[in-house]
Amino acid sequence: MASVTTNGQDRDPVSLFEIHRRQMIRDRMIVNVTLGVVFLGFLLWSLWISRFTPDRLATGLPRIFEYFGSVMPSLQWDVLFDGRNEAGRFPAGSIGYWYNDFWKYLRLIWETILMALTATILAIGLAVALSFIAARNCTPFPWAGVLARRFLEFCRGVPEILFALVLVFAVGIGPLAGVLAITIHATGALGKLFSEVNENASMRPVDGIKAVGGSWFEQMRYGILTQVLPNFTSYALWRFEINVRASAVVGFVGAGGIGAELSHTISFYSDDRVTAVLLLVVLTVTIIDLVSERARHSLIGKESLR
């Protein structure tokens, strides 16, 4: 059999293959060992810096179980569904006792959802407008595109709760600060996603509208928006889910919603009130996720969003 090697050496294919194989294994070993050492080093450094040491864990873990034990409701089957007694109180062990503040929680959750909804609508409006300026293929002026992209990056980079902290200082305690904070952050996040969708849109319809004498607004409205609207809707729904979660915690810094009650309850009580309010929040978030997910999937099939 004629030799197919190009290195001019006179070896049979099997031993050549063996040489190559050993070389490859050795190369891969070196890379893997290096990566492993770096990883381990980083891990040790991290454990030390975050003070995540065995003795701390040993003292911490029992306390965690103790704490979770103390916040569990102590429900009793015989009085579970009992109403108020003569003194106007629920008997201990009943659901009514556990959820004594149910209506207050419900009102706050309602406020939380409204905050998220308003912020989402405002953010959609701002993000749509900015996305056309930020998208490289749409921008009316390149310098405005650069500015818009930097602005969106900033809005997206700073977490809602930090904006909320600052805005509570500026406009006072209450849901307004939360709505504005979530709006700003969501504008950044949506604006980036929207502008990426715009950049992937076909420019042919835009040329068509341009050629009939359409203005920039008309080119965007007819040429681009019609193409990207399903994607926009899907992203907006997805953002609404995230905003509900955010608006449930901006109250930690006084920016409205259930967050203030949540942080107050967790900070000052270690009884079943903690699980009562937490469970309600989890239920709300889960239900909204489910509904919105359904809507999204029916919109553009089972396309993944990331």
Binding site: S46, L47, I49, Y67, G174, V249
Partner: protein, 285 residues
């Protein structure tokens, strides 16, 4: 009939066209529905902004302006205790790393219990999934506060919070990856007469490992972001420094810290993107 100018279109022409193609002149039902939905959104917005007391924005201008100026005009930069700041940032990254690693390890186990094709007992699978829902449904910062209550102030609470929420997120995503596995490859391995261990090693792992690594890296990125604010409730990291200095009215320092955090996060995103590419090529997940 040939050429006709727009100008010359008469009412009779319109009537004739309407008669032939009535639907081309707009569906009044659809038009009303559209107008009504727009009206609803606008009315809702106006109402809700009133409900949230948008007017406070106007009266706030003085305070807002003072805040903005303080954030932009940096004073006494020599006294800013930079070591403290960078230690806080380092702690944030460390917390995110340890938390994500722990979350990954635990999620690996939970994912197989939550995936339909690896956990045939429906009741148990659903129990695991609901538990994961609780881990995910409670925001990381809420977990942070809970753990601060349980184990006290400091980064340990932060690590635990990242651990538990990453565990919930990753286990769900991992289990989806396991469910979306290509069954033909598994059957190919089984056909060679392999035992369960080998089926997992050669049938499942090559398919899911790149996805898992990619998901965990994403999780690390997002945990570094979210870990920056865990300190707001006392769970360690740079957030503690941000809230301390904010409460003390040192807004210029807060702005500086936030800028630094943004840069660090951008660098981490970039680095993790590189690693992702190295492990799984260009295809992402």
């Amino acid at each position: 009939m040939s050429t006709l100018t727009f100008h010359a279109i008469s009412d009779a022409d319109i009537a004739a066209a309407r008669k032939r193609y009535p639907k081309a002149f707009g569906d009044p039902f659809v038009a009303t529905l559209k107008a009504a939905s727009w009206a609803f959104v606008i009315v809702y917005l106006i109402w809700s902004l009133g409900f949230f007391e948008i007017g406070k924005l106007l009266s706030a201008s003085d305070r807002a302006w003072a805040l903005m100026t303080r954030m932009v005009v940096w004073q006494d930069m020599a006294t800013w205790q930079y070591a403290n700041i960078y230690k806080g940032i380092a702690q944030t990254i460390a917390m995110a790393f340890v938390g994500t690693l722990l979350g990954t390890i635990f999620a690996l186990g939970l994912a197989f219990l939550a995936a339909r094709n690896t956990m045939p007992v429906g009741l148990f699978r659903h129990a695991v999934r609901r538990l994961l829902d609780v881990f995910r449904g409670i925001d990381q910062i809420v977990w942070g506060l809970v753990f601060v209550r349980a184990v006290g102030l400091g980064p340990l609470a932060g690590v635990l919070a990242i651990w538990i929420s990453d565990m919930g997120n990753l286990a769900k995503l991992y289990s989806e990856a396991i469910e979306n596995i290509d069954r033909k490859q598994v059957e190919g391995v089984r056909a060679t007469g392999a035992d369960t261990g080998r089926i997992i090693r050669y049938g499942y792992l090559p398919q899911i490992l790149p996805v898992f690594i990619s998901l965990s890296l994403y999780s690390f990125e997002s945990s570094t972001r979210s870990a920056t604010i865990l300190g707001l409730v006392g769970a360690g990291g740079i957030g503690m420094i941000i809230i301390e200095r904010f409460r003390a009215g040192l807004f210029d320092q807060v702005a500086f810290v936030v800028l630094n955090v943004l840069v660090v996060i951008a660098v981490i995103d970039w680095g993790s993107g590189l690693i992702r590419k190295r492990f799984i090529g260009e295809r992402g997940h």
